[in-house]
């Protein structure tokens, strides 16, 4: 057949041409205009984590564009390149390496939105002098800046989060003394991420004298009947749920409904507590508690302004503009806002106002973040993100979370920022763990102070 024959020729030809074109494109240094700060964005827009990836990275990109439309950072325009990771560790490495250099500029910050990806690049980034800005996920003991100078977590890590939740549960129950004899189930995805809060939780259980039961859900977790039957048998008072992916998260709710477990006793992790995790479960989701490190809503001045300026000009990144103001979107905006604040700091510290900075300078800027309520107000996200202050040793955020409850349509924010009951204790866990890591990998912790 003629067509077959032609196709036979065309297919290899096209493949070869693509290959050459790409090879050329990826190696030729693009002419770089002066004073453009470059960012690399490893988005995950397709596949099982697409709801999360499109929202979060959409928020980041919208904020970068917003800053540009407002004149940039002291005149420095922001540019970005995107790369699709499909939430896969191996492809995250490829994306990292691809995005690392653009022209003669090097990426200064990288945010994988996920623990597997973060782990895959965490070692390289220290060597390449790129900041790993974990925003509410990733390696918890990296909050010790002496062992991990290049890793930051501005939105609170999992140990802080579980402590805050315990605190809130105790409040609900009427005080820590009432926790005695209660049964709390930690229902988690059976991966490292799911088990992450367990050390802190066990310690709290010992101190408060409640019964902690750990139940694992094998991924992908679309079937949780046996786990929930166990929860019912144990007559659990509360369930702290640590899932990943909206399939698993919404299944937990519907299965809870199936066995008649009250959703008002379920506490979701930040990575399962978004609109995308609640909506598929329908009415069954009503009453579920969620901890948030970035509160949803469109009323924050910044989000409202992004809608007006960026979306008004038709330059919004979200395919569905309705999702502006959701949990993941706002979290992305919050993360990007911290990048920009760090950039401003870096420009100031290193006398480069109006100039681009490199990774080392950016790192100093991020470490100097002192996000007060006034600062948040100035950015326009007061109430959306918690205030915090970084230091040389302390690389984590405020470790405070807002408690929200799903009312069937949207999240009702119940509290202001709830702190952990005993921050010093969590801090000690972090430092012990970091010290162990340092010893194992022959790292000499740098001196702070």
């Amino acid at each position: 057949m003629l067509i077959d024959k032609m196709l036979r020729r065309i297919v290899p030809a096209i493949s070869a041409a693509t290959f050459i074109a790409i090879a050329a494109a990826s190696t030729t240094a693009m002419a770089q205009e002066a004073q453009e700060q470059y960012f690399g964005i490893p988005s995950s827009r397709v596949g099982p984590y697409s709801a999360m990836g499109t929202g979060y990275y959409g928020g980041i990109i919208d904020y970068l564009n917003y800053v540009n439309m407002k004149g940039g950072v002291n005149g420095v325009k922001l540019t970005y390149d995107e790369c699709e990771t499909e939430y896969n560790a191996a492809r995250t490495v490829e994306c990292y390496q691809r995005l690392l250099n653009k022209g003669d500029q090097k990426m200064v910050v990288f945010d994988t939105l996920g623990t597997p990806g973060a782990y895959a690049v965490i070692g390289r980034m220290a060597q390449d002098h790129v900041v790993l800005a974990q925003y509410g996920y990733g390696r918890t003991d990296a909050a010790d800046g002496r062992v991990w100078p290049w890793v930051f977590n501005a939105a609170g890590h999992y140990w802080g989060q579980i402590a805050v939740k315990m605190n809130y549960i105790a409040q609900k129950e009427g005080g820590v003394d009432k926790m005695k004899g209660k049964t709390i189930v930690h229902l988690h995805i059976d991966t490292a991420y799911g088990r992450e809060p367990i050390p802190a939780m066990r310690q709290i259980a010992k101190e408060w004298d409640f019964k902690l039961i750990e139940i694992a859900v094998p991924p992908p977790g679309l079937e949780q009947q046996s786990q929930w039957l166990q929860i019912r048998r144990e007559k659990a008072d509360w369930v702290t749920f640590w899932g990943a992916g909206s399939g698993m998260n919404s299944t937990a709710i519907t299965t809870a409904a199936r066995v008649g477990f009250p959703r008002e006793k379920m506490f979701y992790v930040t990575f399962g507590g978004a609109e995308e995790d609640m909506i598929p479960a329908g009415d069954a989701a009503k009453g579920t508690y969620v901890a948030a490190n970035a509160a949803p809503g469109r009323d924050y001045p910044l989000i409202a302004d992004i809608l007006k300026v960026v979306y008004g000009a038709g330059k919004g990144n979200m395919q569905n503009p309705e999702r502006v103001g959701t949990v993941y979107y706002n979290r992305g905006v919050g993360a990007a806002a911290m990048w920009i604040e760090a950039l401003k700091n870096a420009q100031k510290i290193h006398n480069k106002v109006g100039k681009t900075v490199n990774g080392d300078e950016f790192r100093d800027g991020y470490e100097a973040l002192d996000i007060t309520d006034e600062k948040l107000k100035e950015i326009g996200i007061l109430g959306m993100s918690a205030p915090f202050k970084m230091s040389c040793a302390k690389h984590d955020g405020s470790e405070r979370f807002k408690m929200m409850q799903w009312d069937g349509k949207k999240f009702q924010i119940l509290t202001d920022w709830v702190p952990a009951p005993d921050p010093a204790f969590i801090r000690k866990l972090i430092e012990d763990s970091a010290a162990k890591y340092a010893a194992e990998n022959n790292i000499t912790p740098r001196k702070c102070s």
Binding site: A25, R98, A192, N317, E440
Partner: protein
Amino acid sequence: MFYREAGQFRTSYAQDSQIFPLRQDRVGIIIMLIAAVMLPFVANSYWLSAILIPWLVLSLVALGQNILMGYAGQLSLGSAGFMAVGAFACYNLILRIDGIPFVVAVALSGVCAALVGIVFGLPSLRIRGLYLAVATLASQFFIVWALDKFGWFKNYDPAGVITAQPIVMFGHNFATPREKYWVVLAIVAVLALLAKNMARGSIGRGWMAVRDMDVAAEVMGFSLLRTKLQAFAISSFYCGVGGALFAFAYLQTVEPSAFGIDLSFRILFMVIIGGLGTIMGSFLGAGFILLMPIFLNIFFHTVFGKSVDATITSALEQVIFGVMIIMFLIFEPLGLARLWQLTKERLRLWPFKH
């Protein structure tokens, strides 16, 4: 014209049993090897650490899968599980045995994977075909679960991951992408040559006899038990070595779920797309499956830039990738290796076609 065999006579038994009997092949392979060794002097670190290293490593794993599937005819879906065994074994060997050279650790982790492979290969004595493929998934899920569950494998890391130690051999730390690439290249080249040799020797003939008709092979005197388990062991050895390299030369910080079922499937794709029962095919297939999505992603981003929604282009990449797979199969069901062979045959006649 370039690929003529005329005038090359084999006059002795030794010549007859060379790995590459044709002068062109010999020259070609030597040129390729030299090029591969010299590559780091022209390639930048993106090419080395994001493209070439994973390509070589996954080619090695695909080679292991190909030994089992293409040569011995045992459909298996557990290769990522065996990679995980290799990776975690290597970590523990270096952790627990002081001063063990990297190459020795890698070889031993291959052996660990081979032992596990033998255990999970046992069902192959009774089961075949697709049934066996699904049965081998048991190993995939079980291994990843066990590595994840028991802290000892990860030296009780609170985050449940291992951080690969530096690659140290002969007192030298192979730290830069270039050095890592050379280490990987050396190991892969040696093992690929070994595989080529095994495949055409008596071991390989045993595998192929079992593949084509196991009952007949048994009648001819091949022990099915031995041949099948041997294939499983050697295949798992390759996967284990590949897994160790994947962890140490590529990912560096690894959690067990990095060796999930997705990876197993991708390795299966590599072998089929590349060509079953060919060494070359493993390399070509790994290249296609690993690199094509990356190139599509780069292509779309450079061509469309930010003018098209990245969600749409990402989905479009998947569609194109799928269509390319189907087209390749329609036009060349025997895989990329066959395409390579056809090219060679055409070169023989070129430019005088008729």
